[in-house]
Every structure is written in C-alpha cells, then in structure tokens.
Symmetry: C2
Subunit: 272 residues, 2 copies
C-alpha cells in the first residue's frame, strides 16, 4: 500500500520525535512507506526545515551506505525563554518557602508537561555532546532526569541513599552535604554503570552542591566521567559553591524565610 506524502510526513514526524539521536536508515522509511528513497529524502528535507523553523530540533543526515538521518532536540530560545519566565513566576510564590531555605516544588515536579519541556530544554544544551548515561539521585530529580535522558537516547541511573534488595550489590560513598555540613551516604547498584561512561548529572535543586559533589565522587569509584551538570533550580548565590560548571534554568535570590520573600530569576542557561 502506497502512502501519500502528507501521511508520510505525519508518521515520520512521530517516528523521529520518538527516536531522538538514533540513526534511522533511509531504507527504513522507504520500506515503511513503500516509497522511493528520493521521495523520502524530499520528505526529510521538509521535516528538517519545519523542525528548525518551529524551534523543535534538527535533523542530521549521515551520508553513505550505512547512512540515514538522526533527530536532535533543539528548543529555540524563542520557545524556551517564555517557558522559563513562566516557571520563574510559578516558583516565586512565597507560600513555597519551607524551613531551611528549601522550596516546595512537588507540584511543579509532579507536572509531566512542565518536566518534559524542561527536559527538552536542558537536553538541547547537550544534544551535540557525547552522553552515555544520565545520573540523578532519588527521589525528586528522577522525573527531570528521565525527561532529559529520553531526548538524549541515554539510560538513567539512580543513586540512592539506602540499599534495596532489588538493586543487587552496590558501591557506596560518604560525602559532606554542602549546606548542612552533615556526613551522608549515597550508593549505586554495581551493575548499573559501565567503566569510562560519560555521565550527565541532573537534579531538581542545588544549594551548595554537596549532593552533586557526592555523585561526582561516586562516579570516580566507577571510573566514569562527568560530561555535564544540569539543575532545574539553583538556590541563591552561595559563597562557597562546591561546583562551578553547571547549567540552571532558574535561580533563586534574596530568599527570606522570615519575611516570606523570595526573588526568582532566569538561571545561567541562556548565558552559557
């Protein structure tokens, strides 16, 4: 059965969005739609142009016999700026303030469409980077980590604070939490991370960066490498930030728990 161009474009769009950073051979589409490769090439040119124009992403063509096409998410600033601005407004509600300068973000992190868009935006910054694995720590960072990982076509590994039978053997480290200066433990299933992996660390919230430093120490135990660090929200300017190189979508400043005041602005994402 032959497919019309319009049907091909719709199905291709769905297929490519569902398979980011995966090489799809032209022959795959040619067989799927019983169409000539030349028609498929024309289709893909239209998809690429539209994806770029609408700030969705881009297609990369890999030439040759083993070639094909790969979709990379690239949310345009035109799309991401208003989203981050709205996120800032959502977060600026002083009712969110909790003891210790923490914020109640559970409702925001529980909203899949916010988390997914944030994941697409963060993944856009790493779409050209070599990322083998996305790592986060249980529990709050998990949804964002998956949202990023699904765009980067990378598995997620979850660091835990307690051991579970369903993890099998684990490697654990101790670390100093940056803000509270307490000694804490974190652990990771031994099976879950290969040596020399390039790891993107993703978390929902960063204060001084102690938790992120803990994850970095854990990576060393696996001979793995930090390929990037990205957080949804960073707390107000900390004097002794333990981590220098990171990406944030939102930054808090002038958090005053006593007077229920909180200032929220764009993170460093657009300045990188």
């Amino acid at each position: 059965m032959k497919f019309r161009r319009s049907e091909r474009l719709i199905d291709m769009t769905n297929y490519l969005l569902d398979h980011p950073r995966q090489l799809v051979p032209l022959t795959f589409f040619a067989e799927r739609y019983d169409s000539a490769k030349s028609s498929i090439s024309e289709d893909l040119a239209i998809v690429k142009e539209t994806f770029e124009q609408r700030g969705i992403g881009t297609l990369q063509t890999v030439p040759g016999a083993a070639g094909g096409v790969k979709f990379f998410v690239k949310v345009s600033e035109e799309e991401s700026k208003p989203f981050v601005k709205e996120l800032c407004n959502l977060i600026a509600d002083p009712e969110r303030l909790l003891p210790g300068g923490y914020l109640y973000l559970t409702d925001i992190l529980g909203n899949p469409s916010i988390v997914q868009k944030a994941g697409q935006i963060i993944a856009s910054a790493y779409s050209d980077a070599k990322i083998d694995v996305v790592m986060t720590v249980a529990t709050k960072g998990i949804p964002l980590a998956y949202a990023v990982a699904s765009q980067l076509n990378a598995p997620v590994v979850i660091v835990r604070r307690d051991s579970k039978v369903t993890e099998g053997p684990t490697v654990s480290i101790n670390y100093v939490s940056g803000s509270a200066k307490r000694i804490e433990t974190m652990l990771l299933s031994k099976r879950s991370l290969a040596q020399e992996s390039r790891v993107l660390i993703v978390d929902d919230f960063m204060k001084a960066g102690g938790t992120v430093m803990g994850m970095i120490s854990l990576l060393e135990e696996f001979n793995a490498h930090v390929a990037g660090i990205a957080v949804l929200v960073e707390a107000e300017k900390i004097h002794e930030r333990l981590v220098d190189e990171y990406l944030s979508l939102v930054q808090l400043s002038e958090v005053d728990v006593k007077h229920k005041k909180i200032n929220v602005k764009e993170g460093n994402y657009f300045r990188k």
Copy 2:
C-alpha cells in the same frame, strides 16, 4: 507568513503529541499558521486518519464555538503486542533473579524508550477514563508513572516511605506488606492530592499487592477514589492476591530462585 500544508501537518503532529488530552481550539491552529479554519479542518482529518492507521492514537473533535480537537494516545495491538513480547524476552533472563523472588529490573526501568512505550500502552487503556492524578510509590515506579501521566495529561503524586522537609506536612498510614507480612509506613504530602480525586495507581512490580493496598488506604484518608491500577510486571500467581482489578503488561510464572529458572508471559493487558 503563510505555511504550506506539509509544514502545518508536521508542526501540528508535534504539537498534538506534546499536548495529549488537551482541547486545542481550531482558531489556535488557524492563527498559528495564518490559515483558514477550513484548511485546518482538512489538515486535522489527515492527521486523524494517519494516527489511527499507524496505531499512534486518535483525534476527537469537539464541535461548537468552544470546540476544537483533542489527541488521545491509542497504541494499536499491532504495535503493543511485539513490544510486550520483546519485554518478556528481556525479563526472562535468569540472571535477573534476586533473593526472595524479586527481579533485577533496574536496567529496563532505566531505559527511557522502554518506559515511555510502556507508558503509552498503559495510558491507551485509560485514555477514555476520567483520571485526575497518577499515583506511585518511590522509587522504582516513578518513571513509569510519569510516562503514563504525560499521556493522560495528569499530574503525578509520589508516595514515600520516609518524610522529607521539602514535602511540607504529610499524612501517613501503616499497612501490611502482602508477601513479607511486615508492618510498613507510607506517607503523602498533604498539599499534593485534592479531595475526591480520581487516581490511577501505577507501579513497576506487584507481588501480593500489599503496597498497592497501602496506596488505596492512603487514598481513603484523602477521600480520593481508585480509578485504576496498572503495573509493568506482576509476580507469579499468588494464592492470596490482595488486589483483583489491575492491568499488567508482563506476568511471571514458575520462578525458581534455586534453579535459576523463570517463566515470563504476557500480562492480562490484552485479555481485558
């Protein structure tokens, strides 16, 4: 700037996939593409036909002045059967067996493309149901819960086993774990669930169903209702299953930890 039909179809496809179960007014698309409503209607008819033919989902047209179009995920059996079969094969590896009849599933649950597809398939079964919230318990169920929730346009609430400052005040209950017959505690942030909510419970693994029963008791404390229960994997036929009505994608049978034998088959999903 005018858009050609091909560009409209591509962008519409992306937009609709990104906004499941949300009413999109025809005027929204008409303005977005500077096109007549009649052209948009024709576009949507092509999108609907292709989505249905390719087993992606369907579009529902809501007539009238406040009308528009809604996308519902509906993965066809033609698409979901082979996926579940492959999932069974992946799970059937006897190396996954852990003490107590548990399975090592961390790698599978860590693969966003598997989790996303499983989420689409589960969400297809509830696409016509009224679901206000998807609920799961930390940690392993979280990714699947988000994958389901993002297709149902519903928020996720996460039940925890320990209290965290970032949750604010919580409601807690005790429950008897079905298989180990131990008393356990679970708790949920007070702010996170509205009265009378219709809740879909999602988890990665169900043995006797104690954890699910715990979640149901917790729902009662919030005057909320169970709208459905879905799990990725159910353990082998338990004599005293605490929960009757549930959906599973995969079912274990003849788990023999001593002889490292395990039998895996399709869950009840396709028999419902």
